[in-house]
């Protein structure tokens, strides 16, 4: 073979390879194409949203605010929350149920009746037994929310060996009468809010226990029509849905959601008109610019960012040291540093959105007093390791916190560990972590979701502990246990919760410092913007200008 022919052949092979590769690419592209929906000349048309991330679009699995934001419009629960702005958004209203349940036997038995004629987005009728299947499915699929339902009679035994044919005796359903009766082993004041969690959204009986993202039919105003875990998903109207007083029909005909992790890029999409809405926290320094190029809404959600101090580890086993740290932290400065000021300084455990919230002013910024307390406690120069998670806002906050500890005479250094293992590390008693960063975002609006999970000494476990301060006070514990039995948050109950909160903060196991607000960014074409306290931007009620 001559040299020339050899080269010609080589070039043609290269061309072939390139062509083949292009075909492969094109194939992949074609395979991923989603079916285009017919354009309807309606009032709103398509809402193009940009979200930073989701975890699952499966009601028994999803456990992030973003996923719940999307799924709330697809899966309905027995009870739900009103589509209104402001404090009214915390009010429980009937969803799939005809009315609020009948509670009997001292808060141990709940009886619901389903509304008539409800259908899933695939046309199937909703049955009472679907609710039972949903709870069982959670256990079978090792969902993240199963911990909420173990107080149902028979659920503990079922959770040890979940099988498809197994039974949870405490859930009694009657498909003919459309009734659901739930029996609890002990009264639980937050049980109604737990039933309103999307974990308990009914799904058609015998839906696979595999994680089915965006393919399970729901009973809400929309259904998922496409899903790609890393790129985005689409919601279209559920033609079987009938609006009720509490669940409106929704303005957008279609919701296209793109997943963009980079906050700068997400903001840029709204500015350039490629998207109508972005939830990605705008970097603080773009806020002023963004304000003039779209609508900026600061959404208040129930969250508390705090530093815990382990009450069993020196020097934080001394009350004076814990108090000193509380005095030393300049909460406004911290909010400004970490989020460019988009957080409300706080000294409370509960966020201000709660009806039982009473603003505490126990520790106003006073470095001199803090130093004095440290000296009195004899903790000067004590070695402290501050734990934090490898996420930029947590590192910034912890860095500031470390410098505060050093400023009042402790000898603090920072230890940041991977985000995936952070909570299981600090929640393990063997770590002996002294102090560190944490936050709590509400699961459901009830003080129990805070005090019982985070500060009840009776619930401390040696591993996977959520009470990072290892805080336990007999008086507080028994008060929390007692309040657990109160089924309704009456003003009197709320007052008792406020007292518990004050007692805890006087013992200072935490340094709460912020209730963060989230900047939500809309293009100028969006007219009315509504926020639901629990689920965020209320997609159903958005409208165009």
């Amino acid at each position: 073979m001559t040299e020339r022919r050899r080269w010609t052949l080589l070039l043609s092979i290269l061309a072939l390879v390139a062509g083949f590769a292009l075909m492969l690419a094109a194939y992949g592209v074609a395979a991923n194409r989603t079916t285009a929906a017919p354009k309807q000349a309606q009032k709103f048309g398509t809402l193009r949203a940009v979200i930073d991330t989701i975890d699952f679009l499966d009601p028994q699995q999803a456990y992030t605010g973003q996923s719940w934001w999307a799924m709330w419009n697809v899966y309905e629960t027995l009870l739900t929350y009103k589509h209104v702005d402001g404090p009214g958004g915390y009010k429980l209203v009937p969803g799939l149920a005809q009315s609020l349940p009948k509670i009997s036997n001292n808060g141990r038995v709940y009886k619901f009746t389903l509304r008539k004629g409800i259908r899933y987005s695939n046309g199937r009728a909703l049955k009472a037994s679907d609710f039972k299947w949903a709870i069982k499915r959670g256990f079978l699929a090792t969902g993240q929310g199963v911990g909420f339902y173990t107080d149902i009679v028979g659920a503990k035994a079922y959770s040890a060996h979940p099988t498809k044919s197994g039974n949870i005796a405490g859930i009694i359903v009657n498909n003919k009468k459309r009734t659901i009766v739930i029996k609890l082993t002990r009264p639980r004041g937050d049980f109604l809010t737990i039933l309103a969690l999307l974990f308990a959204a009914p799904v058609p009986a015998n839906t696979s226990t595999a994680i089915l993202n965006g393919t399970i039919p729901g009973t809400g105003p929309y259904r998922f029509s496409s899903f790609d875990a890393n790129r985005g998903f689409t919601m279209v109207r559920n033609k079987y849905f009938k609006p009720t007083v509490n669940i409106p029909r929704g303005n957008p005909d279609r919701i296209d959601v793109a997943l963009v992790g980079d906050a700068n890029a997400a903001t840029q999409r709204v500015i350039s008109g490629q998207a109508d809405y972005s939830n990605g926290a705008i970097p603080p320094d773009r806020i002023a610019n963004a304000k003039s190029r779209g609508h900026l809404v600061l959404r208040q959600t129930a969250n508390t960012y705090y530093f815990w101090m382990n009450t069993h580890e020196a020097p934080f086993n001394k009350l004076k040291v814990r108090q000193a740290v509380n005095y030393a932290v300049d909460r406004s400065a911290m909010n400004r540093i970490v989020w460019g000021g988009l957080g409300q300084p706080t000294q409370n455990v509960l966020p201000p959105t709660y009806p039982s919230y009473v603003k505490l002013n126990l520790y106003n910024h006073n470095v001199a007093k803090a130093r004095q307390l440290i000296t009195q406690a004899g903790a000067k120069g004590a070695k402290v390791t501050v734990w934090t998670r490898q996420v930029s806002d947590a590192i910034d906050a912890a860095q500031y916190y470390t410098s505060v500890l050093n400023a009042i005479g402790l000898d603090a250094k920072l230890n940041s560990i991977p985000r995936a293992t952070y909570y299981s590390t600090i929640g393990n008693i063997a770590t002996h972590a002294q102090t560190g960063w944490a936050r709590w975002l509400e699961d459901y609006p009830h003080p129990l979701d805070w005090f019982d999970v985070l500060l009840n000494g009776n619930r401390i476990t040696p591993t996977d502990n959520n009470n990072y301060a290892w805080y336990s006070s007999k008086k507080t514990n028994s008060e929390i246990e007692g309040l657990k039995k109160a089924p309704v948050l009456t003003p009197a109950v709320n007052q008792r919760w406020a007292k518990v909160e004050k007692e805890i903060m006087q013992q200072a196991p935490w340094v709460p410092w912020s209730n963060r607000v989230f900047p939500e960014f809309f293009s100028k074409k969006i007219g009315c913007i509504h926020t639901q306290r629990l689920y965020g931007i209320d997609t159903l009620r958005l409208c165009r200008k």
Binding site: A21, N32, T142, G147, T150, S159, N230, G261, A420, S424
Partner: protein, 326 residues
């Protein structure tokens, strides 16, 4: 030739096997611990953690876990329906890893093929010009620019390009995002211009340097002197003899580099420009210490590297019979 091919194939499989073992060891044995705790969520019950451990087999001996994992990866490659726990799935998102890698391929291939064409073309151009103009100012300027290109962190270049050209004031380019070729070829290219350029810069500099020194070496070879002595026009000598022979090492370099970027090596470029390709997928999984996707992407990348290095050997043997293997 056939024994050579067979030997290479066996070697390929052996290397891929070893790669998978190594990645598995790195993730299972080194950290010491199973991911069941974090999979159970922020409010875990002991029973649920136990169930997760059982279902995923985290309580099995590590060699059983390895075999299971490879079986699952194989199942993921095969078409058909498989059970929840019969496929290689991510711990975090529970997505089918093979499927997710496939979804990343269009973006990765688009990025790499485009950038590959750019860097090959400009690399050769730059190298040839600076070899011909060796010692002149143009050569010096090109050489310095090429070295600057080699010395830049690719993600930093990406950030700078994004800031000046895609975000600040009145942007000229879109800020990241991959648009499918079939959706709109124009938008596809428009969205990819910055990433292409960003990825290509490093290689242009490098190829230019290599080609230049190869050509300078070739110019002093006997056959070139002979050709010149025969009175062949200098331009013809340059193109026919010098450039052509100097390109042979470039073929091998290109093969290996192209394999590396196809196999997820463009991880930084993909991350900076939010191109959801294979490298991006790996970068996402690293933060969550999510073993199966990293395992999958590493095997996928190794496959390309091993395949292309075998191909390069064949091409070499073909172009240069002196090194043909027996």
């Amino acid at each position: 030739m056939l024994p050579f091919v067979i030997r290479r194939l066996v070697g390929m499989i052996a290397v891929l096997f070893a790669v998978s073992v190594l990645v598995f060891i790195v993730f299972i044995l080194v950290p010491g611990g199973d991911p069941a705790e974090r999979m159970a969520g922020k409010n875990p019950t002991p029973a649920n953690i136990h169930n997760i451990r059982q279902r995923w087999g985290f309580n099995r001996p590590f060699y059983v876990q390895y075999v299971k994992m490879m079986q699952k990866a194989g199942n993921g490659l095969l078409p058909g329906r498989h059970g929840e726990y019969d496929i290689l799935r991510s711990f975090d998102t529970r997505q089918n890893v093979v499927h997710e890698i496939k979804r990343g391929i269009p973006a990765t291939f688009s990025l790499c093929i485009g950038a590959g064409i750019i860097w090959l073309f400009f690399g050769i151009l730059v190298g040839a010009i600076s070899a011909v103009k060796a010692g002149r100012w143009s050569d010096r300027v090109i050489t310095i620019l090429a070295l600057v290109g080699i010395s830049m962190p690719v993600f930093w270049l990406g950030i700078v390009l994004r800031y000046f050209l895609a975000e600040n004031g009145h942007p000229l380019f879109p800020d990241g995002e991959y648009v499918a070729l079939t959706k709109s070829p124009v938008q596809w290219a428009y969205h990819l211009i910055l990433p292409w350029f960003c990825l290509a810069v490093l290689f242009i500099g490098f190829y230019g340097r290599v080609l230049r020194s190869n050509m300078l070496d070739a110019m002093s070879e006997d056959y070139v002197r002979t050709a010149r002595a025969k009175g062949i026009a200098p331009r013809r000598v340059l193109l026919r003899h010098v450039l052509r022979n100097s390109l042979i090492p470039i073929v091998s370099l290109f093969g290996l580099d192209f394999a590396a970027v196809l196999g997820g090596g463009a991880i930084l470029t993909e991350t900076v420009f939010d191109l959801k390709g294979v490298g991006w997928y790996a970068a996402q999984s690293v933060g969550g210490l999510d073993l199966p996707p990293i395992m999958g992407v590493t095997l996928y990348g190794s496959f390309f590297i091993v395949l292309f290095s075998a191909l390069v050997d064949f091409v070499y043997a073909y172009l240069d019979p002196r090194i043909r293997p027996t």
